[in-house]
């Protein structure tokens, strides 16, 4: 029982961060149809950069600076790499994101080395008791932050001009352009938002687990979450994030502790396999029906 409560809390905590990272991934996919295989490296970038900045700035400013730089990186990737590739086969563009990911990862390791780096203690550490289980306080704080940010993103898409324009373009690109939505602007902002969401994910996970190269692989878990939810569904991506977090901690955690160690990290990918066999378009994705 203790194990279940503890795993659920941990699952929701990690899941909320996955959800945030997956949101960025799904948003970019909706707006551009590009599977960004460098998303995990953007997470890594956020974590490393925030740690480096906390060395010279107070923590809140360091986080703010990280987000601004992440947004600039997003804009730059779109302007310098993606825009010239416009109109090229999608597969080529996706392979380019793979290369971009390796470059970012290589640079991060080159600059900051391979050891795990820690944030200075800014959030209250230690354990708190919850329903008979012991849960790290840090997890609760980062989960709250992630949930708050998810809500903020939700409001942004519902209430701001840019958010509405982005949704319009994500649904029907050409139609949106005939309504006066600038597609180049929307795509640029989609990259910036993807980079920001990833960087926040990197900071939150980094606060909790520390930052090393392995953090980049969380991008693949976000991919699992997004595929689970249905590639073109943003609520699906968020729910997918929570499900991956929960399954990983409940089932993966159990198998890890009792059967074979190291299973936890592959549960997300087993979920992808299972989902793709039963619902290839994901839980909430659009089912494509082609008439022949």
């Amino acid at each position: 029982m203790e194990f279940v409560v503890q795993s659920m809390v941990m699952g929701i905590a990690v899941g909320s961060i996955y959800a945030l990272i997956a949101l960025g991934f799904a948003l970019l996919f909706k707006a551009t149809k590009v599977l960004n295989l460098a998303h995990g490296e953007l997470v890594l970038f956020g974590g490393y950069l925030a740690i480096a900045l906390t060395g010279v700035l107070p923590f809140p400013l360091a986080v703010l600076g990280t987000l601004v730089i992440a947004a600039l990186l997003g804009f730059a990737v779109e302007r310098v790499i993606m825009r010239p590739l416009f109109g090229q086969p999608l597969l080529s563009v996706i392979i380019v994101t793979l290369a971009l990911g390796y470059i970012i990862r290589g640079l991060m390791v080159g600059i900051w080395g391979g050891d795990t780096r820690q944030f200075p203690p800014v959030l209250p550490a230690g354990l708190i008791r919850l329903g008979g289980a012991q849960v790290p306080q840090l997890g609760i704080w980062s989960a709250l932050t992630a949930i708050l940010l998810l809500a903020a993103f939700g409001l942004f898409f519902k209430m701001t001009y840019l958010g509405i324009a982005m949704r319009a373009a994500a649904n029907e690109q050409l139609t949106a352009s005939t309504l006066g939505v600038s597609l180049t602007r929307v795509v640029a902002y989609a990259w910036a938002f993807a980079a920001i969401a990833a960087a926040i994910g990197g900071v939150l996970l980094g606060l909790w687990l520390g930052v090393n190269v392995a953090l980049g692989f969380v991008g693949l878990k976000a991919l699992a979450a997004v595929i689970l939810g249905g590639l073109d569904s943003i609520p699906g991506a968020i729910l997918g994030g929570f499900i991956v977090g929960l399954v990983e901690n409940l089932i993966g955690g159990y198998i890890d502790a009792h059967i074979i160690y190291g299973f936890k990290d592959i549960t997300a990918f087993l979920i992808i396999l299972a989902v793709m066999m039963i619902r290839p378009y994901g839980l909430f994705g659009t089912e494509h029906i082609e008439r022949l």
């Binding site: 209430m159 701001t160 029907e172 050409l174 139609t175 352009s177 005939t178 006066g180 600038s182």
Partner: protein, 253 residues
Amino acid sequence: MLQVEDLHVSFKGVQALRGVSFSVEPGEILGIIGPNGAGKTSVLNCINGFYRPQRGRIIFHGKEITHLPPDARAAMGIARTFQNIALYRGMSVLDNIMSGRIHHMRSNLLACGLWFGPAQREHTAHRRVVEEIIDFLEIEEYRYHPVADLPYGIQKKVELGRALAMEPRILLLDEPMAGMSVDEKMDMARYILELKEVRGLPILLIEHDMGVVMDISDRLIAMDYGVKIAEGPPSEIQNHPAVIQAYLGEEAG
């Protein structure tokens, strides 16, 4: 007000347009007819910016727009509908028409949905415009229905409504009556005429139903194989030998 000069468009060697020129005058309905593949939709795609012609110019209200992206042209007041309906299928009629207001929201970062202050007042103003359009098109009862569930004829009306919500200065309609029943076609023809007569809105119209297009157009252009083969009032086009030949084939000429 809209001049199209010598448009050339080709796709990998296939020439879709080979030197099309015409102009739309203020307050007129200009019909484009021609067999399938004549290049009618390509003309609209050039005007609204989906295609960049390899040669030729497009001038709207004295300004050359040939190289502007579609959104810039939309902001200048060029609105269009599509041959295959392109609505946001999961959204309601109201929200779809509201999406035509997007470029009028530009002034205000917090566009809609806030329930106080200037954003709320702006939202009310947009809603008023949308409600007038819903009244005009007589689709009040469908206001909150998702468009995907509605009959084809109603969806066509919603698409027209969304274009009107942009408060355009010219309307490009690509087969607004395709697939409609006779009653629905008569309704649509009535709306189009009313837009011209009451609002003085110039309309460029592609339509296959000869009866309707002859009835409502002030002037007609006939196209075949990417060129304009005739231009004039409907009565003249009806009996134009080149037009008859285009529709009936070589021997009939």
